[in-house]
């Protein structure tokens, strides 16, 4: 009985920010930090992720779709998906078809995937700030 009371007392408080910050941070890179008043960090994350993604698209990098079939294409899709809103908008605009005649298209593909993976890290950081694990 005493243990259950102690367990309840030690449980981390759940507020809306715990869900909102990662969700907004995924949809708009850096916004998870900005809504928690980490302005500079949020802007730097936003500039970094968006710049990498846009450079990747401008280098004619390929953006993977959800129905790749091949395991490597599925992994590429998961990486791309990390960019959130950027991925959704670029798919809607039919960008990232990947010009295989260009040598830099391969760099572009990597830039796009890494932008998504960096945004996953940024989302995790926004979550850690929301639960109070990090300042």
């Amino acid at each position: 009985m005493a243990n259950s009371t102690t367990g309840k007392a030690e449980a981390a408080p759940v507020n809306a920010m715990v869900v909102l910050a990662p969700a907004v941070g995924w949809l708009i890179p850096g916004a998870g930090h900005i809504i928690q008043k980490r302005w500079i960090r949020g802007l730097l994350l936003m500039v970094s992720v968006v710049s990498m993604f846009v450079l990747g698209v401008l280098m004619q990098g390929r953006i993977y779709g959800p129905n790749g079939g091949d395991i490597l294409e599925i992994l590429g899709f998961i990486g791309d998906l990390g960019a959130g809103g950027l991925y959704i908008v670029s798919r809607a605009l039919d960008l990232g078809q990947g010009a295989i005649s260009l040598a830099t298209a391969d760099y572009g593909k990597v830039f796009i995937i890494v932008a998504g993976l960096l945004n996953f890290i940024s989302v995790a950081d926004a979550y850690h700030i929301a639960i109070g694990k990090k300042q």
Binding site: S48, T104, V110
Partner: protein, 60 residues
Amino acid sequence: MTITLNHFSAAAVFALFASIVFGITHRETTRDMVRYGLYCFAMFLGGALVAGWAMWLLKR
């Protein structure tokens, strides 16, 4: 519109943005974030240069 970067420019841009994100997300204080970001940037670019020279030596 198409941008064409050479291999080193692409590596430098990649290192810059990845280091900013790593610095911010992997450290607690501002000072540690800057130091870790610079460390990551140096390691990214240093690694690319070392790998480049290693491949040049292997080719000879």
